[in-house]
Symmetry: C3
């Protein structure tokens, strides 16, 4: 699959942006400032990525006039960067990051077992010893490495990479789109997700987990991670080696969790949080700040008789 | 599918109710007081529906003797209205609300793409440009409108309506029964769900979401709504246009959310709540009251070191 | 399926344990102290199972030298009992507890309806009146009793027992592995799950629920239990008759819930908790202690305006 190419002048016209720089310069994909190279167009919409803007290798950047930097050669200006990013994401096809051959048929090792009613798309590679149960869907360009076991009714979107010796339990979804939308008046404009999911070796993914692909770049689950059931991991997250997480925990976008952490069930972690290595978090904790020190954290609500709870909330409300 | 018809005298006998009114009057379905017409039987079991009782067009009403109203002509009395409602719901077949033809085969537009291992039941209509991935189930009488994309292993129960330009991610379930049961001694009597789910245009439903059908009437998701993964929406809910909701949020029965709301992940909203337009709710908030004013709301528990949490709960418990 | 047999001397050698007792004694499966018989090897790693150790019928026990008991005849000593247990669990095949015949083909009653794209494995028994929708997977040795309805895309792992008159909604997963791992240096060693799930009669399991099999023994859901959508029930849990649970509630391992309880949605219950009969728990409650008395319990966080929440957390943090 060859990506479409656009001249910056074409993008400026299609998205109604004002262009400064080489109007014949061509880009063929969209990426974040950090990972972009000169064939990519990128975007800058939050001060927290200032450093990335200063150091980017992107061929062109969409940004606000007030954030202009001399070091950027090709610029497309708008007051609504997030919306322009969403529209721009719709111009390009996702990059194929997985296995690819000219004849497009999946390559399934003779030592792999594929059960009935599964559907393996084009350009998938399945290695020796892999077992795939029934009702599994594997999207194009994905790779399933040696000895991995995929239980029934798992859905794997295109371009996913699943390591060796993994177990994916039934109903798990790998590579669905993240909740990426930009406001366009009252409506929401979809940010097309160009990234993928990469899962290391010896990872276990519980039943009903949902792991979103990156909007650009990769959602990464490192070697030895163990996820209980019904965990949600949003786009662009990173889980360090041997981290283990309890059921129903929900992790928002671009969260980075260190190595050998233990996170309890039903925790919520807001977006863009960083958690260092070897942190222990008890169940039902709401993580709203970076956790910079190894240690044990909590926060769950206190069990009480209902009549005491009614008193408590009456007091809390009177206080205000 | 023609519904069974019952005389009120038959219902009174089958359900052991005392009848006041026309014993030969015939009803052919069950509905709530507000939406019922003269071919429906309805039920009244909570003071909060008093206004609906006074204004109902139902052909007959099941209610308690103490709630008797002169304006109702045909009445079936019992002390256990909720249980009688459950039993009555079991008499009738769900109304077919979707597309229906005499020959019963699904009608699939030649411009739609249906992947292998999907199962499209009778009387389904699939419009132009629809893409259905593998392992999808679509129950009888459902309609999938133009250009909608349904990812692998989605389950859609009968009589669902899915709008144009929607995306349903893998593992989502549309139209499952709500948690509707009436106490019958120690046991639970099932309330058969006669309603359906109707989803507007340009709606995105995240991976693993579950959207229950209405017990009677409709569960409604309006145009432009965007749901993250693993959201639960119970029977008879209503989501206003362009509302967006974060992952793992759980919304109980008959909740009405306004337009352009933004609700964070892992929130719980109890049943029968109303939330006005343009409300913002942070993640992990527990919504136990109507939200009558536009604004920003919170309530999530506070992150702390575990030793501080142990002190906090010791203090909270001593207080009582 | 005949289980592999091991002499204790072989196990001692394979797992690097020091053996005291009859080195030619043979065991063919692994089980907890309480349920083990003389053909089982068992393990002791927590004081809370002291009584079980004293009364066990296990043929041999893995334990720490410091926990040695004279009443145990055959002992395998190690400082890392949990890890040795994990490794030992990997030696044995799970016991077949379900229906089994010499010819191995599933036995499907002529009065059952099996939809297309379902996959029924060997040694499954499906009784009269059962309806199985499309995309369902049923693992070997499972039994589905009379008149049970299984909706599309349900996954049932091997050796599960599903009672009469049950309804399993789409996307539910029965019998996935629990989150069972023992630390082995930095890595996690998998505890192979030898148990199963047994579901009684007239049980309803909501869409997207995940019910883990027992690590050894049974995860049990008794007659008349009703589960809303997306509930997680971990390994070795027990739910008493006619208990009803709201959506998105997450129950950790070995929790025992009594009869006729009503538990709200989004609750978290930590492992090894016991809850007596007829307890009512409001939504979003965090249950960290046994509940020994019938009553009504709560604990959910309080809804407030976001500006008040910011004040509240500032105060809570200053206190410490």
């Amino acid at each position: 699959m060859v990506n479409k190419e656009f001249k910056l002048s074409e993008i400026a016209k299609l998205l109604d942006l004002s262009l400064e720089g080489d109007q014949d310069y061509k880009v063929c994909s969209i990426n974040n400032l950090k990972q972009a190279d000169k064939s990519d167009i990128s975007f800058y919409y939050s001060k927290k990525f200032k450093k990335d803007l200063e150091n980017t290798n992107a061929g062109a950047v969409i940004l606000s006039k007030s954030d202009d930097l001399n070091t950027i050669k090709n610029k497309l200006f708008t007051d609504q960067v997030h919306l322009a990013y969403a529209k721009c994401s719709q111009l390009f096809m996702p990059k194929s990051v997985g296995f690819s051959r000219k004849d497009n048929v999946p390559v399934i090792h003779e030592g792999a077992i594929i059960s009935p009613n599964s559907n393996i798309e084009t350009n998938v590679k399945i290695e020796d010893g892999v077992v795939i149960k029934s009702g599994v869907y594997i999207g194009s360009g994905s790779i399933i490495k040696k000895n991995t076991l995929i239980h029934s009714n798992v859905s794997i979107y295109s371009n996913s990479v699943i390591g060796r010796d993994c177990i994916l339990h039934s109903g798990a979804v790998i590579g669905s789109d993240g909740l990426g939308f930009a406001k366009n008046g009252k409506k929401w404009e979809k940010i097309i997700h160009h990234g993928n999911v990469e899962i290391g070796n010896s990872v276990e993914i519980g039943a009903g987990c949902t792991i979103d692909k990156a909007s650009s770049g990769k959602t990464i689950i490192n070697d030895g991670v163990k996820l209980d059931n019904q965990i949600h991991l949003a786009h662009n997250c990173f889980l360090g080696e041997n981290t283990i997480i309890g059921a129903n925990t929900s992790i928002a976008g671009s969260v980075k969790v260190g190595k050998s952490c233990m996170i309890g069930g039903l925790c919520g972690i807001v977006d863009n949080i960083e958690i260092v290595d070897e942190v222990i978090i008890h169940p039902m904790t709401f993580v709203t700040n970076n956790i910079k020190n190894k240690g044990v954290y909590s926060g769950g609500p206190v069990l009480m008789e209902h009549k005491d709870w009614l008193k408590k909330i009456a007091i809390e409300r009177k206080k205000r």
